[in-house]
Symmetry: D2
Subunit: 392 residues, 4 copies
């Protein structure tokens, strides 16, 4: 049970690139990193407008001298300090992720990056190599995966409680962009503009989230081939899709589907993961993350609750408040950031055992997301054909 | 509001083929047909075992002389009587539907048939022609379509409350056959045996149900092409599938999916219809058939309830008890059977206006189901490829 | 499993008093009684207006000669026939129940009566005596109690699966009469008029329903004392209440509450029964009658489904369609009417063993409801004080 | 929208009494206070065992010199420092709240206190007077009230969207203490021991939570009289109750009920607030705090979602992440603590306007909870009689 005591020797000195005053996601990065002093925010390049960025940093309690105009100045400036940053989080539009992450690693700084890590598998592999060469980690903020019941699902699958896995049913299908909100909302605008967003919109923006969760829950399964159909229901978004369906065949004979959408009108999130085995199914929904439905064929369905003593120890480890009280997305992110901190410290000290005890969305998870989007787009653009899929 | 008063001049004289003592579905046919005296059960060929069939018929109150050993004897015997049957319901294994329906029509008897109507489109077209030639209807028991809120959904789509339709998300995915229950359960055995079941298992057995509902709700849309992947997770069922996913492109640019399954472990029915438009979505679930979720983007989701005065008149017409009280599948079937009776009478009297006022799953709906299964199987057996699809 | 075969030697010859064309409840009585030929409708006095009543009866298929102007003529006329009625259902305003039931019993006719059976315990006891003297049953249409999962709840309590019973939490709190709908709706008007409704509105009209269910589920428990507070939120209804809360102490130390309401705005039915034991709780809701929540402290809650093989045999006996398919209120009523028919036949033949095997809301249940309402009103009218309560 | 920027001139220097390593609630106090730097933890007396308390404080990043053995030393030591604490949170067993709060106020320190504030109304009034005399606030951690949709409910009631309020239906009825867990669990043990817990268990421990929410939502209504029945189902807890039902009459004619329980077996929290008006009802449940059900009689029920633009501004002010993402109890507490900080600063600067713009559970809310428990116990111990109730 988490009670606020430090889990590393000291808070990790940390900065952000992006995530300024108008950012949708800057706050959750900070809220997660600063929880229980896993990280200490000491510097930043929060905004394209240096003045605004500095003012924001000061409001967050930073020394104005450590509020930089851009990431290059940030990395250079901090490198020159004995107490310079040890880690940076990247919360900028997609097209900048690769360059910033690369520069950070080259400066010997651990990276936490928004998905997608980059636009191509080639770029992603470059970051893998750099991460290994510099002995610095790259964490990717698949934040939903920090929900405790995902660990419970993983443990139950591993224990065979579902039997052989047959069906993987994934969706993240919200409706917030049913209209062309990008005409007035800049936070949506860059997401539907290829130059900033990359080769896809919803596949990368939402679809990779449940995909990553399925990788956590089903570590033994590999996609063999996939097929994708994508649509641009708001026509001005073409070639980027606002809706997509992906079919997947796994190496163990299982079959998967992913529904990614931003035009599922009226749906709040609609992020659901259903894993069907020969004996039982598990279903999890991110809007009610404190419950996991466990459905054994021929028995009453069971509602598994976060925080209960009957859970697998891995699903209890990150409990903060006990059962009955709802935890939300902020705790899920804080769980991830705490693991990032531990992974950074363990990497710094060369503690391989501790490093292997921590599960987090690492650079390989980042690569996998890029690879999957790339393959989906290739399939869809060829008319919805099957594509052989090789994992890294 | 239905209160039990006759809606035709007199109950229609009616028989069943199949549906005997051990039948899963015989009872719901009778319960629906006899509700409010739409039909009067006067004859039958209930069982392969003539003695057992006769005993059963007598228990149902029939004259033993009108309990026949088989459908041929039934049609011949009744044709010889001045008070012979006017209609027959066919509740036998799939492989016999075509021959029995054909014989009935040839005897000038109206037909109500379990889906699938037959195995091939060619056969189906033959029944269409025969139905037209003999001026007798063929009704197909897509029983879920009789739920009142399906009419509400249709009326709301027609009124434009959803905007332009973009996504059609269908599923009927139960888990009752996660194991090879056919080894001990004869009612399942024939369903997974090609000679009795035809070219598919779950596509035809469950998938066509939500497909038909989508046809009712979205009469203006046509499938242009489709792609299907099917699996036999219980291997002994091959080549018949126990799980399948179908993708569909519509002529208006909408995209559809159908998940058909008998191995969705732990799921009771899982029959769901979600229609997504540019403005709003509708979602209906057959296990809670008295609610319809109406989700306008940007507004609170609304739970529409069966029986309420705010419903479209077409959705109130078949109300029997008022809101708050749950109606179930038996009322849905009874609604269909009542429409079958009216359609039979209107056909007999040549009342085209009344006939056109009644919506029911007719012979064309039967053809459509056969065509869709045929196309799905063709796509799946070619490795999951896109198939051009032409509606009747 | 019910499949439509006769469960008595022959359908019981049956009439209705009340329940005519505009009746809210006439149809469900007929639908339930005629299901599977438990009863045969052969006569009636459906309406205060004899002509309208006759026309309605003819529409239902009756011989016009057996459509009577009132109950007195009905009982006299039928007594004169060799094929006269054996049973009658009373679906008239409350103030007439006692006189009609008494007259029926005096004519040697079995009675099915809407609740409340009468207005006072003294009247109720008179019917008990008459029922015993004439060897005729009185059934009371606590229709919700026919839902199959009520039997499951009873069996689970009996088996000790809940431990010692501590809390009984009952409610039937709808919102349909939040406004003074009686100004335009005659079916509500008599319910809020003391001369027709008796000493209470919602306590008797809705509260006795979950009360009876608690008696079925908890046959070993007796109320020792109770306290009631009642309100007339629509002031013109005073002294009749449209909202009431009753507290109850049981002989085993358990504590109960009943919330009866017609002004719970926006609630559809809100009929819920929650039984809390030292080990586990059960909760059932009439709007989703196919599910029963079983909540063992310290374990995941379980959703028990109607129709599943894991149910107690008593909860499977009345299954008509299998699990996954929703059954509704009509099946619940049909289950009760089938038991009424069996009880009538067993009474006629003196088959005590068969009679004791059938559980139905009998004359004693009717008395109990009257007694409870009487005590609640007495408590409320004294300012909400505790009243000693002695069961019959 | 909250994005982490400071809302006061500087973080408030803050200490805790209690809330050490094994505490159930210490972590949520710290997590809430430290969120977005509303407070800075600089001192503490965390534990009865001074060594353990100091070690814990050091783990939290404190100067060991400011980890005190008890509250007296804390207040004295900090008073001697120019940078001494400005506020303290009290998270100790109930019997110590009064003395610690009094001492803090006497030292000129703002107080945040766990409920109940104290044991008697007389004590509570003493704290009111002291708070006024010293110009220091007392905040009470009715943490659930910080959920954003409670503000939405308040705004909707104020706007008349429910019509005249008729029924107030409150419950907090969990099942975690169905067994005598206090035999092994010290955190439960003191709660059921009168010397530590005061005159009640569940009335004060859980019942006052929804009661306070009802005060927030319905500020215009006053309880006129109440009646309470309480039980000790685990007998060793007597005279303290583990289950209680309270009836309440309000000055506007509304009727209320509160179900407080720790033996509602299998229920997780069961904290629900339902407000029924003449036009519509609102229902909120703490386990799904991101949804509010709004049920207008005669219209489809609406599911109001946290974070949506259609909400009242007061319900949007504390949004941190947008709709669709679940927020949980930690955000609710953080919202309260942020208001405590603003109230402290506004009190310090004499900014009456700002102070009046902030709604938080203040010393009067604390008094009210004590008064209500006192009245409930008095009613229950007199056999469940009506007690006149006068608010402060």
């Amino acid at each position: 049970m988490i009670n606020g005591e430090l889990r590393t020797a000291a808070p990790i000195r940390w900065a952000m690139v992006g995530g300024g005053r108008g950012s949708q996601i800057g706050y959750i990065h900070r809220s997660a990193a600063l929880r229980d002093r896993a990280f200490a925010l000491v510097a930043g390049a929060f905004d394209l407008d240096p003045e605004r960025g500095r003012a924001f940093g000061v409001d967050l309690g930073l020394d104005p001298a450590r509020c930089y105009p851009d990431y290059a100045a940030l990395f250079a400036g901090e490198a020159a300090r004995p107490d310079g940053i040890q880690a940076v989080s990247i919360a900028t539009p997609n097209n900048t992720h690769f360059a910033i992450a690369k520069a950070a690693l080259e400066h010997g700084i651990h990276v936490v990056c928004e998905k997608p890590l980059c636009f191509t598998v080639a770029e992603a592999e470059e970051l893998v190599a750099l991460s290994a060469a510099r002995h610095k980690i790259v964490g990717v903020t698949y934040g939903y995966a920090g929900h405790q019941l995902i660990e419970q699902a993983r443990a139950m699958v591993e224990a065979g409680e579902l039997g052989a896995i047959r069906i993987v049913n994934l969706q993240f299908a919200h409706g917030f962009h049913s209209d062309a909100v990008e005409e007035t909302n800049p936070a949506t605008r860059w997401r539907v503009t290829p130059a900033f967003a990359g080769p896809s919109y919803v596949l990368g923006d939402v679809g990779t989230h449940p995909l990553y969760m399925s990788e956590v829950i089903l570590p033994h399964m590999r996609i063999k081939r996939l097929l994708c159909a994508r649509q641009s229901f708001v026509k001005s978004r073409a070639p980027l899709e606002d809706n997509a369906v992906t079919l997947m065949e796994y190496d163990n004979g299982a079959f998967g589907t992913v529904w990614s959408s931003a035009v599922n009108a009226g749906s709040m999130h609609g992020q659901k993961v259903r894993i069907v085995g020969s004996r039982a199914s598990l279903e999890w929904w991110d809007e009610r993350p404190n419950q996991l439905s466990f459905e054994v064929q021929g028995e009453p369905a069971r509602i598994i609750e976060r925080g209960m003593p009957y859970l697998h120890p891995a699903a209890q480890a990150d409990d903060r408040i006990g059962a009955g009280h709802p935890e939300g997305l902020f705790e899920a992110w804080a769980n991830l950031y705490a693991r990032f901190a531990i992974a950074m410290e363990a990497t710094n000290t060369g503690d391989a055992e501790r490093l292997s005890s921590i599960r987090y969305p690492d650079v390989h998870a980042g690569v996998e997301g890029v690879r999957w989007v790339e393959a989906c787009v290739r399939s869809a653009d060829a008319g919805g054909v099957w594509i052989d899929y090789t994992c890294g």
